[in-house]
């Protein structure tokens, strides 16, 4: 073993020993790894590689969860404040209402009615007015029918002008002359040449027509584009909407077309003369709206539109805490309209009762299980785990069978003579039913964490306390119980989190008085279709749950969750 070549120091070149010795000799120099790089860097590189490998293993799942779970939750949070429908459907009205003081209690200016006429007309053609109506109906009852009615009646305003122009010249209600007046000649040629295959050549306005007839050009362009994209019809063959005639009247009344020399100039000059004549009938937009429905000349609907015109609103959240947006700012709803505060309170209260009953029932069981010999405890554990593994719907249906008026419990009580046959107990479709069924369903979630904590409590502590002269009660209360508190905490938070968001069981055994906030969310999603409100209620519930989740993580640690003992 004294062979010089085998001694580390005699071998020149990188061996681990050599590197370490070299580092020992020269205190100032960095410790080197086997390949000569400083050990620190080498270790860092290894650590980084390890981190990257771990992250690569996690990444697929993390991305999967983010896309299919976190993104939907984010979408729901976004929906709870999103309110673009008013702005998108009534853009002109919203702009015209910008300086309208909703609190004044007056009607808005005439320009607003004009803007609303164009907006409602286009919305009605696009069939969007009913959606807007139902959206505003959540805030102001009657808005839905008002908009539906307006969608049918809005044509009447334009008809006034359409009829007069048509009486003057049939061509005003024909497709081709309008297209020639408004459209670019190249586009008309291309549209004529179009044989029905492929996409239509996109409508283009004639270059100078916007200067002479600005409103008409704008509305006609909207009409032509709509015909092309939504209906798939050629604007050359479709008579324009009556809104175009209204716009034409406004343009002719205000502007001067005498200098116009393009196509159909004579037709336009004649119309201008007609508009200028004394017997040309006009209708103010406000009167037109009044004819459709009286509600349009009451300030409330305008206040509502104004209040809900921003793209984002706190309205859904205010609704879900029983408040509403008014012209004067947020205010509590009337006493008889407050339901969500009550529902949140009830959800909290019932979840607390359920958690407490789970503690009361779960504690003795966990104590028994953790103090029995392993073979017996495993056998009894099956009785706890079987309900845990049994379908939620099976257990809920079982409780329906047990609790109903003709159910097993009532039958037994009647048979025993404890309850008269005609005075059977009402145990279902109320809070009692929900609490009993949910206590049963969530009890395993209380027992399992309690059991895993209690089985770590050394029995010698209890014996020591007793041998020092403590009574049974003192031993339990001062020695055993404090050590079992973490189990109670873990189980309680878990049960509370789970119960606060329960839906199925309250829906089936809860009736009307035993339902939770979840049932209301489901109602808004599937029946009332007020998705924004559902999202806002869900967001509030989510915040409560996340706070509890955070607490659970702090107290117990998420990686300590145990399943099945």
């Amino acid at each position: 073993m004294t062979d010089a070549a085998t001694e580390p120091d005699k071998v020149t070149g990188p061996t681990p020993d050599n590197a370490l010795r070299a580092a020992d000799k020269e205190d100032s120099g960095p410790v080197l790894a086997a390949d000569g790089t400083p050990l620190k860097r080498s270790l860092n590189r290894a650590l980084r590689a390890q981190k990257i490998r771990a992250l690569m293993l996690i990444a697929p799942l993390l991305i999967f969860v983010l896309v299919s779970f976190i993104a939907p939750i984010g979408d729901m949070l976004f929906r709870s404040v999103e309110n673009q429908i008013v702005r998108d459907t009534l853009p002109r009205t919203v702009a015209a209402l910008a300086d309208y003081d909703a609190a004044s209690g007056e009607l808005p200016r005439d320009e607003v009615f004009e803007a609303a006429y164009y907006d409602v007309f286009f919305a009605a053609e696009r069939k969007e007015h009913t959606r807007l109506g139902s959206r505003l109906n959540y805030e102001k009852t009657g808005a839905s029918s008002l908009f539906r009615k307006s969608g049918r009646g809005i044509d009447d305003i334009g008809e006034v002008y359409l009829d007069q122009f048509e009486d003057l010249d049939e061509n005003w209600d024909e497709a081709r002359p309008w297209a020639e007046l408004m459209g670019d000649p190249d586009w008309i040629a291309a549209q004529d040449a179009w044989n029905g295959n492929g996409s239509m050549p996109e409508f283009e306005l004639r270059s100078d027509i916007s200067d002479i007839l600005p409103r008409t050009a704008e509305t006609y362009e909207i009409f032509a584009r709509f015909m092309q994209t939504e209906e798939g019809d050629s604007p050359l063959e479709e008579e324009p909407w009556s809104v175009v005639h209204t716009a034409l009247y406004q343009d002719l009344a205000e502007g001067d077309v005498s200098g116009y020399t393009g196509p159909r100039a004579d037709m336009l000059q004649a119309a201008d003369a007609l508009v200028a004549s004394a017997d040309f009938q006009t209708i103010a937009f406000r009167d037109g709206f009044e004819e459709i429905d009286e509600d349009w000349v009451a300030p409330e609907i305008w206040q509502t539109i104004k209040t809900y015109s921003p793209a984002y609103t706190s309205g859904y959240f205010l609704n879900s805490i029983d408040m509403q947006k008014t012209a004067e700012g947020p205010a509590l709803r009337d006493e008889d309209e407050r339901i969500y505060g009550l529902l949140f309170q009830r959800t909290m209260f019932m979840s607390l009762v359920i958690t407490l009953s789970c503690i009361l029932l779960g504690y003795p069981i966990s104590y028994l299980l953790s103090n029995l010999p392993a073979s017996k405890a495993n056998l009894l554990m099956i009785l706890v785990l079987l309900p845990f593994w049994t379908s939620l719907l099976v257990r809920t249906s079982a409780w329906k069978v047990m609790l109903q008026q003709q159910g097993v419990i009532n039958d037994t009580l009647v048979w025993l003579g404890l309850v008269a046959d005609d005075a059977r107990l009402t145990m279902i479709n109320n809070q009692f039913g929900t609490i009993v069924a949910m206590t049963h369903i969530l009890l395993p979630f209380m027992i399992l964490p309690m059991y895993s904590v209690m089985s770590t409590i050394p029995p010698s502590y209890v014996r020591a306390a007793k041998s020092l002269g403590a009574t049974n009660w003192t031993t339990f209360w001062r020695v055993y119980f404090p050590q079992s508190v973490p189990g109670i905490g873990a189980g309680s938070i878990l049960v509370f989190i789970l119960s606060i968001g329960y839906y199925i069981t309250p829906e089936i055994v809860g009736g009307t008085s035993g339902i939770f906030i979840s049932n209301r969310i489901a109602y808004h999603i599937s029946s009332s279709l007020n998705w924004g409100l559902a999202a806002a209620l869900g967001s509030i519930l989510l915040v409560v749950v996340l706070v509890l989740y955070w607490a659970y993580d702090k107290i117990v640690g998420i990686d300590n969750v145990k399943l099945g003992g």
Binding site: I70, D75, L372, W389, S391, L393, R395, K400
Partner: protein, 396 residues
């Protein structure tokens, strides 16, 4: 406490035995009495009868005749019950006879002391058994609803309740017609088919992704481990109604609502926390030097995973998979929101059935599901023990 006899037992004074039995008899008599119209009479008769029986058994006949006495008691009580109330009475009577026969000797011979430590005071002994009775009652609360469903599923009528024929054990009161309906009605068979189409695929996704991630998470240096863990476990914590709402909004945007893959994705994500939890728990006891040894001998990481690590953590992976499977198989809220009429799963069918209370076919389905969950529970328990044995932990 072991089964060994800790305290020598001795015969108790007859006054004590007769007193306890009188109390127990009075308690039983109260129920029988109220059922027949007079509670007070029931108490008196029950107490007197039991005290007399205790006296006869203890003083007159003695311990030597225990077996015959107990059999006679069972027989007499069963016959009395039969004369009184037919076949249900026979069974009830037999049970009463068996219980009181055992109880008389258990109390009278002091056998209840045998397995308790000698220094307990009578009060502590009483509390010990009271505690046992309380626990028994809670176990009854846990298990009764599941048991009750089973006989009701054989109901010959379309009721959710026990009919008089069923209580009389009349064969005419029982039938398999709900099972026939369950197995032949296309509504139910389609629901079962859909559930069986969705659950395995969802399970496969959550198990494969979840196992990989759990292995990644169990390494020693993972940046942001806590946050990642919180995100991965969140599908279990966030209330289902919120998940369902969010998924309904988001999946409808990307055209997944009402499609098979929409439901599969949703169920896969809901099953992931269970896979993560079980597999991480298995990996806690995993000996890392085994993979190092494998790598040392020249195995590449893939080979190491499949040949060394996977066999050892397989029990955990499978039980995680079973959890994921039952989550998907049992899930109803999300399906209600993002499913469609053609994609009704079994829980959906049960839920609508329960809401509209159509027929006890639900109970037949429930019984079958209970049978399935017993199978799953058994496999998970077996796997858990196997896993602990593989990892060298104690078998219990």
């Amino acid at each position: 406490m072991s089964e060994a006899i800790l305290t020598p037992i001795e015969k108790k004074p007859i006054g004590f035995t007769a007193g306890v039995l009188a109390a127990a008899g009075g308690f039983a008599g109260l129920f029988l009495g109220t059922a027949q119209g007079s509670g007070l009479l029931g108490i008196v008769i029950g107490a007197a009868l039991m005290a007399a029986l205790a006296f006869v058994a203890m003083q007159v006949l003695g311990e030597a005749l225990e077996k015959p006495v107990r059999w006679v008691m069972i027989a007499v009580a069963a016959v009395a019950g039969f004369l009184f109330n037919g076949i249900p009475g026979l069974i009830m009577g037999g049970l009463f006879g068996w219980f009181f026969g055992w109880f008389i000797y258990w109390v009278g011979m002091g056998r209840y002391r045998a397995h308790l430590v000698p220094y307990l005071t009578p009060g502590q002994v009483l509390w010990h058994y009271t505690f046992r009775v309380i626990c028994g009652a809670i176990f009854v609360f846990l298990i009764t609803p599941i048991i009750v469903v089973m006989p009701l599923s054989f109901n010959a009528e379309d009721f959710f309740t026990f009919t008089p024929e069923m209580l009389a054990f009349d064969p005419a009161g029982y039938s398999l017609k709900h099972y026939r309906d369950f197995l032949t009605n296309p509504e139910w068979t389609n629901a079962v088919k859909n559930s069986l189409l969705v659950a395995p695929v969802a399970t496969l996704i959550s198990v494969s992704l979840g196992t990989l991630a759990a292995i990644g998470l169990s390494q020693s240096h993972v940046p942001g481990k806590r946050a990642i863990m919180a995100i991965l476990i969140s599908p279990m914590i966030v209330p289902l109604i919120i998940s369902a709402t969010g998924m309904y909004f988001f999946y409808s945007k990307i055209g997944l609502v009402g499609t098979y893959w929409g439901i599969v994705l949703a169920h896969a994500v809901l099953g992931i926390p269970f896979v993560i939890i079980t597999v991480t728990a298995t990996l806690v006891g995993f000996d890392r030097s085994l993979t190092r040894a494998a790598a040392n001998m020249g195995a590449n990481p893939v080979t190491t995973f499949f040949k060394v690590q996977m066999p050892l953590i397989l029990p955990g992976v499978i039980s995680g998979g079973l959890f994921a499977f039952i989550t998907s198989f049992d899930e109803v809220v999300v399906v209600l929101f993002i499913g469609s009429a053609e994609l009704q799963t079994l829980p959906w069918q049960m839920f609508t059935g329960l809401r509209e209370q159509i027929s006890p076919t639900i109970l037949a389905a429930a019984t079958i599901l209970v049978a399935i969950s017993i199978c799953l529970l058994t496999s998970v328990e077996i796997l858990r023990r196997r896993s602990e044995r593989l990892r060298g932990m104690s078998p219990s």
